[in-house]
């Protein structure tokens, strides 16, 4: 790419970051450094480290992040290998279903898990039926061992990220390389360790880094368990405290700083030297069929993971269908009244339309920006690109609620982003907010893809006379399509189910996205959780169908790419 074009791209992306990331959180974070007279101080930051409760919170958050990342990697890598390499019964279905955690809407996911793990929930009922637990002495899964619960739910929620990125990386791997190693006499284990794994490190890193930062800063899951010795919940608690205290922003600063540091360190050690990939497959990968017992075993492994991952979804579905699900394994009486109530509700139709609008536009914006940032980071020569890379991951680390308040403050009359409010319609603001927060997925995926594709292919195209833009469009982008699809799917799904920005920035009922509609329904007295669950089920069905349709569309396209 010409220097002018790449410099222009760098500038555009940087300006976007400054306006829509740095600015919103600056106003809030600034308070963490100001003392009562308005002078500069580090005291608030120091207080964070002096207080054993906050130190414990930071340590717990770190522990949860490490355990979650390990869990995700250990779960995702074998599954990705299994899928890409082997042919076994139900393979296609398993692949689709593995992505189900992506479609679990917030709030109702919590209700679903509570319905299953509660003391009068399904699990205890099952254990009582089986005689493992005495009736009248149910286990308090949600009350005891909360960190284990948080890690488990995190892993079940986040492993698709690792799985998508690793399987995309594996799919991009040239089987010729492995075959060459086999020809030279390397045994399978050695091939795996010395050839395959190093080549998929970009994909692995993409998934693991997102999982780590997410688990480190995640608010929703610890909140379900009311586990308050983690930094994110402590921040949330302190923000909701009304005494005007800027202390929570000091916690946010520490969280941000640590997240950036971890990311930078891991990037240094893991993603520093990436061997350039051989580009796309020069030969078709031969899938190894697994028949009989081994095939069933493989499918069984997938099925187990899927079953665990689907537990919250099952809880939500049953909750939506139950008249009153209490102390029984399955609801005693079923009804469709909640679905009728939720879907015919005045809020629902507009909420669905709004969510589709916001999420699609945000994903589009993310693709444009994400490819730009990934290009600069991987192929560019500018000096600031390491910083840009780290900054592009930061939106994951900032608590959603902080950014949302930042946007709110900036969109008021007289403030810088007020132009984004079209009258009272926050659509542009929400699209930008969503896009900013989902950018890391697309950037990481696109960067992983670019790292695997050798620049030699593009150079070859340019040598043959194609202008740089055309080379990008016709050669590089198609080659990294699986990665882009992975990133875009993640971005779209998470944008559809987004919480913080939706709760705070969409204030008028006609602009509510789905999550806010679910939250509103949940607070209907008595029937609320069931209504919310019903709308949640609808969201899940819709997203599943969208994922399947997108996959089908792409499946055809991918196939067309490799027509002989």
């Amino acid at each position: 790419m010409s220097t002018l074009a790449s410099r222009g791209l760098f500038l555009t992306v940087t300006v976007f970051f400054l306006l829509f990331f740095v600015l919103p959180i600056w106003g809030a974070l600034r308070g963490a450094f100001l003392d009562a007279q308005g002078g500069f101080t580090f005291e608030y930051l120091l207080e964070v480290f002096r207080n054993p409760i906050y130190r414990e919170g930071l340590f717990n958050s770190f522990l949860i992040a490490v355990l979650t990342t390990l869990g995700c990697v250990l779960l995702a890598v074998p599954l990705a290998f299994g899928y890409v390499r082997y042919e076994f019964p139900g393979r296609g279905l398993c692949n689709g279903l593995l992505l189900t955690p992506l479609i679990l809407p917030p709030f109702v996911g919590a209700l679903g898990i509570q319905a299953i793990l509660g003391q009068a929930g399904a699990l205890n009922s099952l254990l009582t039926l089986l005689g493992i637990v005495a009736p009248g002495r149910p286990v308090d899964w949600l009350g005891e061992g909360r960190m284990a619960g948080v890690v488990l739910m995190n892993v079940l929620h986040l492993y698709p990220i690792a799985y998508l990125n690793v399987s995309a990386a594996l799919a991009n791997l040239d089987p010729a390389l492995e075959e060459a190693a086999a020809n030279l006499g390397a045994p399978p284990r050695r091939r795996l360790w010395r050839i395959t794994l190093p080549l998929i490190v970009p994909g692995l890193f993409a998934g693991a880094s997102i999982a780590f930062i997410w688990a480190f800063t995640e608010l929703g899951v610890p909140l379900i368990f009311d586990y308050d010795r983690v930094t994110s919940v402590q921040i949330f608690a302190a923000i909701k405290d009304l005494s005007n205290n800027p202390f929570p922003y000091a916690l946010v600063v520490v969280l941000l700083f640590l997240s950036t540091t971890f990311y930078a360190l891991s990037r240094q050690f893991l993603a520093g030297d990436i061997a350039g990939g051989g580009g796309r497959a020069t030969m078709a990968r031969v899938m190894i069929p697994l028949t009989g017992f081994r095939g069933l075993l493989c499918a069984g492994g997938f099925a187990l993971v899927i079953a665990l991952a689907l537990l919250p979804h099952a809880g939500v579905v049953l909750l939506a269908l139950a008249e009153d699900w209490y102390a029984t394994l399955l609801p005693s009486r079923l009804t469709l009244a909640h679905f009728a109530g939720a879907l015919s509700h005045g809020l629902t139709l507009s909420a669905i339309a709004n969510s589709l609008k916001y999420a699609s536009l945000a994903t589009l914006l993310d693709l444009l920006l994400g490819i730009g940032v990934a290009w600069i980071v991987v192929r560019g020569q500018q000096r600031g690109r390491g910083l840009l890379d780290a900054m592009s991951m930061l939106p994951l680390a900032v608590p959603g609620i902080v950014m949302a308040f930042g946007y709110l403050a900036l969109s008021r009359e007289g403030q810088m982003l007020h132009g984004l409010m079209l009258g009272e319609d926050p659509v542009l603001l929400l699209v930008v907010a969503y896009a900013m927060r989902r950018l890391p997925y697309v950037v990481r995926s696109a960067a992983a893809g670019l790292q695997q594709v050798s620049p030699a292919l593009e150079e070859a195209a340019r040598n043959l006379g194609a202008p740089p833009a055309r080379a990008l469009w016709r050669i590089t982008l198609p080659l990294i399509t699986p990665n882009l699809v992975a990133g875009a799917l993640l971005a779209f799904s998470f944008a559809m189910l987004e919480v913080s920005d939706s709760m705070i920035l969409a204030q008028q009922a006609q602009y509510f996205p789905i999550t806010k509609a679910i939250y509103t329904l949940a607070s209907v007295l008595g029937e609320g959780p069931a209504l919310a669950a019903a709308l949640g089920v609808w969201s899940m069905v819709f997203l599943t169908l969208t994922l399947l349709a997108a996959g089908n569309l792409l499946g055809k396209k991918l196939g067309a790419l490799f027509r002989a």
Binding site: G118, L343, S344, W538, L545
Partner: protein, 564 residues
């Protein structure tokens, strides 16, 4: 979603099946999206055409908004022919609303100050302009800002604040967010129109010490609110507790360890109020006991207050030790109790009763019960108020008039379908208007035997006893119970295991340094002060103090076990 490049290598026969499956997905997608569209009712979002709009900020749940709102809209259309659109803003509970008002007014006033008045903005001004303690003895700039705010018509685009606790409304009124009106607007106008409403027979100013409307006409109570205990009969039976709870002290039963649902008072206004009531009850009992013992009135009151303060805090400490954990919202408590994850918890009467009703079995019994402790809870109100800078102050006044009129008050307590009652849902609340409680109305009430004003006599609220310490109570409970909860619970468990040995129990309930007077001398000034850093340090020091005490109690209990 297939990322493997093998997709194209399919025999032609399968292509046809592929296509059919593809088509099926798109059809399913269409049906899913069409569902809500076909089921949507007519009163969705903003009506296609409306003449005027009223923006109302409220924590009230869906059914209340629907019934009250629809009744007003219908009434207004009948009277004037205009269609009003009620734009409900629901950021969440009373804490979220307080946060919303604070940040919105700050932004609006900053804009007004800097653009219209052309003056410089600064951080201290941001706190001072809405602080009732800013007087002519403060710095001249801050005093000027305060006066400018109180004289201005700065608004946040919202007309009315409808629902919340009277304490919160008092805070907002003193900050200056709520206005009394005048010249045909606000409660002052209503006083001119209906002077008979503002009499003890209709809308008393205070009942048993609790304010029912603002002396300066900035807010007025609409419906009654009481606190009580919501409990699950199945869980109590399971724990071997035969008697259902009747008083707050019943929640300190050691058999309930780990089974109480509690909410953080710094995050929930209603729970903070409940704690204050507990302390008030203890104070009253202590004063009554001293008077009965023959002490002089003045000495009895002074001594009783201090004794009650200590006893109240100890009671709260033991309740907290019995808690599973602290949730962030009061609305979660009845849900947890209903799900049998908790045996009991504090709740507002309407939530508790609604939960009880929702799970009522066909035979009339319910696993959930609610009780308002006799003499342990005051009769309080849920008010309405006009906001400063309302876009439609006259229409807002009409809404207030409707809600306070006999017609509007009936909607809260009558059965659905009866004349002048709600259309579809029983709201199960009690109106403030004393002249509502006639035999004629009782015929149509959902609870014909409700006599709230008679029961109010059992508890007299003395605002001067605890009002100056309201913030301190929240703060203390935070450092004494919420932040130190794991240590507190462990100590309590150890104590229970040893049968509550005297020395250890005394160490556990050691409140030295936190007397009524010492708290006012040491803690209250810091909480009121502007330096938040000092407050953060104080929180850290005090948590450390309590953590140490709980540790000591735990050790004493453990050592007691080792001694013969």
């Amino acid at each position: 979603m297939d990322v493997s490049p093998q997709d194209e290598a399919r025999p032609p026969a399968l292509v046809k099946r592929f296509w059919r499956g593809d088509w099926l997905i798109w059809l399913a997608l269409l049906v899913t999206v069409a569902g809500p569209f076909l089921l949507a009712t007519r009163d969705a979002g903003a009506p296609g055409h409306h003449d005027r709009r009223l923006v109302i900020l409220t924590p009230h749940h869906e059914r209340i908004r629907q019934e009250i709102g629809n009744a007003f809209v219908a009434d207004w259309r009948a009277r004037t022919g205009e269609t009003v659109y009620l734009d409900w803003r629901t950021p969440g509970g009373s804490s979220e609303i307080a946060l919303f008002l604070k940040s919105e007014f700050a932004g609006a006033f900053e804009y007004d100050w800097t653009t219209r008045l052309q003056r410089d903005w600064s951080q201290p001004l941001a706190h001072a302009f809405a602080d009732p303690r800013t007087t002519d003895r403060s710095s001249p700039r801050e005093w000027a800002a305060r006066q400018a705010f109180l004289a201005s018509n700065v608004g946040v685009g919202v007309d009315l604040l409808f629902g919340g606790g009277s304490y919160d409304f008092q805070q907002q009124a003193e900050a200056g967010y709520l206005v009394a009106g005048g010249a045909g607007i606000g409660l002052l106008a209503l006083r001119d129109r209906h002077p008979d409403w503002f009499t003890p027979e209709v809308y008393p100013e205070a009942v048993s010490g609790e304010p029912f409307r603002d002396r300066d006409y900035r807010w007025m109570g609409v419906e009654l609110a009481t606190f009580g205990i919501v409990y699950n009969r199945d869980v109590l039976r399971r724990l071997g507790i035969a008697r259902e709870p009747e008083q707050w002290v019943d929640l300190t039963d050691p058999r309930l360890a780990g089974r109480i649902a509690m909410s953080d008072p710094t995050k929930s206004g209603s729970v903070a109020k409940a704690f204050e009531l507990i302390i008030q009850q203890q104070m009253q009992q202590a004063v009554a006991n001293r008077l009965a013992a023959g002490e002089q009135a003045g000495a009895a009151e002074a001594g009783g207050i201090r004794e009650g303060w200590r006893e109240g805090l100890k009671l709260i400490q033991r309740m907290s030790a019995n808690a599973r954990y602290f949730t962030d919202s009061a609305a979660k408590i009845p849900l947890e109790v209903s799900r049998a994850d908790a045996a009991a918890g504090m709740a507002i009467e309407s939530y508790g009763k609604a939960t009880e009703e929702f799970v009522r079995r066909p035979d009339g019994s319910s696993r959930v019960g609610f009780v308002a402790p006799l003499g342990g809870t005051s009769l309080s109100v849920d008010p309405i108020a006009l906001l400063r800078g309302a876009p439609e102050p006259r229409l807002a006044t009409e809404f207030m008039e409707f809600v306070l009129s006999p017609r509007g008050q009936k909607l809260w307590a009558l059965r659905p379908g009866v004349p002048e009652g709600p259309v579809s849902t029983a709201l199960r609340r009690l109106p403030v208007r004393r002249d509502f409680y006639t035999d004629a109305n009782r015929l149509y009430m959902t609870e014909p035997d409700a006599r709230p004003y008679a029961q109010a006599g059992h508890f007299v609220y003395h605002p001067d006893w605890t009002a100056p310490l309201y913030g301190a109570i929240r703060f203390l409970i935070r450092v004494m119970c919420v932040e130190t909860h794991p240590e507190q619970r462990e100590a309590w468990r150890a104590l229970i295991d040893q049968g509550l040995p005297g020395a250890a129990l005394a160490a556990f309930q050691d409140l030295s340094g936190f007397d009524y007077d010492e708290v006012q001398r040491r803690i209250v000034p810091i909480l009121r002060g502007k330096d938040k850093l000092v407050e953060v340090r104080l929180a850290r020091e005090l948590s450390a103090v309590f953590r140490e005490r709980y540790e000591r109690a735990r050790r004493l209990a453990r050592d007691g076990r080792n001694r013969p």
